[in-house]
Amino acid sequence: MLEEQVINKNGLDVHLVSTPKYKTTTFVLQIKSRLTQKTATERSLLANVLKSATNDYPSRKQIRLYLDELYGASFQADVQRKGENHILSLRLEAANEKFLKDNVPLFKKSLSFLREVLENPFFDENGSFSEKVIREEKRTLKQRMESIYDDKIRYANKRLLEEMCKDEPYSVHPYGEMEKIDEVTSETLMQEYKRMLQEDDIRLYIVGDVKAEEAEEAASIFSVTSKTQEAMNEGKENEGKEPKEIKETDDIQQGKLHLGYRTSVTFSDNLFPAMQVMNGLFGGFPHSKLFMNVREKESMAYYAASRYESLKGLVLVFAGIEASKYEKAVDIIKKQLDDMKQGHFTDESVEQTKVMVKNQLLETADSARGIVDLYYQSVAAGKKRDLSEWVKAIDAVTKQDVIEGAATVELDTCYFLRGEEAAK
């Protein structure tokens, strides 16, 4: 199984997954900070400004032409929420030169380019980020935020989290806030950039046919360092509060039902593997209770599933239903969780779910992006889980563990987005 090797060079941790199975090499710089309302907008804009101009390639167009020259190396900058951390990622994937007729040093060139994006961005004669780039990227960021609304399932999920986690950092969208975009200036962006280089936990992930010595040499060109931060992903119990119910309308055909549950069990807990199995059996797979009952038995929905956000301690349920079936759907979903808590499921279904969870884990590890995500969870949670140990831990889960996991899950907020007609 693919294990990661962590090599420290001049203070920078390089996480290497060495494997000959890909035709490309993948590099990811993961830059971690706390998720706060104050910095989210600036960091998300910063990601886009950094990817648009470097000292050697001072415009988007020059960057794109250079990447095309590197056999279409793909390059992205994005921001994500992992628990209450805000992760800025710079990703580059380039062909492994051994599959090309030409002899191009793609590994070296890709890596120097990635370093340049982070450490040597374009500054104008005043030593500031380009005003033109900032203006254009502000506009793109606004459009990206607005487009969340156009995908109604995504929009409903965002609204649920905003309402459910109102006074917590988790309610901050990784893109930041629309109202804050215009407040960002080249000065505040520069402050945030400098702060990021000095304070954030920066790590380099490399996946591909790469030896430890090559990875070490690669790391030596960087001057940024990794700074282990205290993990901040404490799951919160619901404290016996009455669940909130929120109904909103939009001009849509299908009702989007999203339920937010809380659990105290997070990635670093001993019960974590049991919660993965519990979520799988509740709504993670086609054999799950939600799929079998909401979709197959009642024919009420095309999709009905749950997701476990293990870095925050949430279980999120979503289903697309006819608006008139709202009460019935909510009752069925609640009943499925009650059944989980009371152990109304067979040992066989637990075994089946364990196999499925393991399968999912190993399949994720088959893609370069997937394996980086898997191992990065350990960093974000401050608890190391190697792939092979992880698989063993899932094997060891019992029905009783699943019941214990389910016992921690409580409904917090029920959000429903429905058509205007249906609301009348």
Binding site: P20, L65, Y71, F99, Q253, M356, S367
Partner: protein, 431 residues
């Protein structure tokens, strides 16, 4: 007999065999991968709605959405749900229906043999009752309503609806809430018998597997089943005019950002094999040179705030239809429409340069290598190409052959104004 083909530069070896009953099997060993991915596909999709059923003389017209409905119903048999069986064997299973193909697939990190048997057996065992057919209608109706709320899907199908007069590519793959209620179990059996004959199907297995063992397993499995003699399938298509039906379609939806897509209807290609692959790649390279992120057009459209990352191009060449489309999210759909058309007109006047071609060619080679990391991509793409006698792994030499003259020739033979149609989604209400 099993054929073996090795591609040295790519370091890949692929095996294939056509079994006695007509089924084509491909095996691609991929050492180092945890999972095995298998896809069992029939050369039958949503456009195949008018045909002569196997063993009959008269053509029939079936309700819209039936290929997709059939795909849903295949997962159930006398014992219940096949998802359960896959689940017990640690596999995740799925299926999809496109215009010309229906594919059933699983991936698993254990019990490959059992899962492969399950895949073959459930797809080759139709079981429909009035009751199970009725039950599925509610689920599919919700699937259709989900897509009705999806503006990108609507943009795309409105474009096809404007482009085509009669061709069934204009019909939503899942059909409509009305059409699916007409479907009966007899319809499903008729489609099944006609299109799911092994001679119309391809099985592709990729993973850390032993080729001989896989082929042996499939052969034994197939020898234990009996099938009718294969017949040539007779599909009926009305003549489709060269010109588009409407030049524009505008729909209002609840969106913040409008959308615009410019499409050109292309004569269905009669090419096969390597020639078809070369044609497809030439068109893709041309579109990338014109509108890709490294093009002048992309940069100025971006600077002018007319496009964002969603801006993209696509070229489709399938049996009996072909089209290309350019577009994405935009604040000003009319302006973007004009600029896309202008870019094409300019290129037709001046032609593309050798440098532009070299740049996008390199990019395409690198992207192709990237795609080969995905077993799903390789298996699905290899299968689609196999229906046209193309070997996917020949891609790089074919890409290297394409000349700038060939691309400029294509610029002239495509993009007539009468073949152009535009689709827009605009805001329903001001926000």
């Amino acid at each position: 007999m099993t054929n073996k083909k090795t591609f040295d530069q790519l370091q890949e070896t692929i095996y294939n065999e056509r079994l006695d009953n007509g089924l084509t099997v491909y095996v691609l060993p991929k050492p180092g991968f945890h999972k095995t991915f298998a896809v069992f596909s029939t050369n039958y999709g949503s456009i195949d709605n008018h045909f002569v059923p196997i063993g009959k003389k008269e053509a029939v017209m079936v309700p819209d959405g039936i290929a997709h409905f059939l795909e849903h119903k295949m997962f159930e048999d006398e014992q219940g749900d096949v998802f359960q069986t896959f689940g017990e064997q640690g596999a995740s299973a799925n299926a999809f229906t496109s215009f010309t193909k229906t594919a059933y697939l699983f991936s698993s990190t254990q019990d490959t043999d059992k899962n492969l048997e399950t895949l073959l057996d459930f797809v080759q065992h139709p079981y429909f009752t009035d009751e199970t057919v009725e039950k599925e209608k509610g689920i599919i109706e919700q699937e259709i309503t989900m897509y009705e709320d999806n503006p990108d899907w609507q943009l795309f199908f409105n474009l096809l609806g404007s482009m085509y007069h009669k061709h069934p590519v204009k019909i939503d793959i899942a059909g409509s809430a009305d059409s699916i209620y007409e479907i009966t179990k007899e319809d499903l059996y008729e489609c099944y018998e006609t299109f799911y004959h092994p001679s119309n199907m391809v099985l592709f297995v990729a993973g850390d597997v032993q080729t001989d063992q896989i082929i042996e397993l499939v052969r034994n499995n197939q020898n234990n089943k009996s099938f009718k003699e294969p017949e040539e399938i007779e599909r009926i298509l009305d003549d489709e005019p060269k010109e588009v039906k409407n030049d524009k379609s505008v729909a209002k939806m609840s969106v913040n950002t409008p959308k615009c897509m410019v499409g050109y209807k292309v004569n269905a290609s009669k090419l096969e094999g390597k020639e078809l692959l070369k044609y497809e790649f030439s068109m893709q390279l041309m579109l990338d040179a014109l509108f890709g992120p490294g093009s002048d057009a992309y940069e100025t459209l971006y600077e002018d705030g007319l496009i964002d990352d969603s801006f993209s191009t696509e070229f489709t060449a399938e049996r009996s239809f072909s089209f290309l489309a350019v577009g994405g999210d935009t604040k000003e759909p009319d302006k973007l429409e004009q600029r896309i058309i202008q870019t094409i007109e300019n290129a037709r006047d001046k032609g593309l340069s050798k440098d532009q071609l070299e740049r996008v060619r390199k990019k395409k080679i690198g992207n192709f290598l990237k795609q080969l990391n995905s077993l799903e991509f390789v298996a699905n793409q290899y299968t689609s190409f196999a229906f046209h006698n193309i070997h996917l792994f020949e891609a790089i030499p074919v890409l290297e052959e394409i000349t700038i003259d060939e691309i400029n020739q294509l610029l002239h033979t495509h993009f007539e104004e009468s073949t152009r149609s535009v689709s827009q989604i605009i805001q329903k209400q001001a926000n």
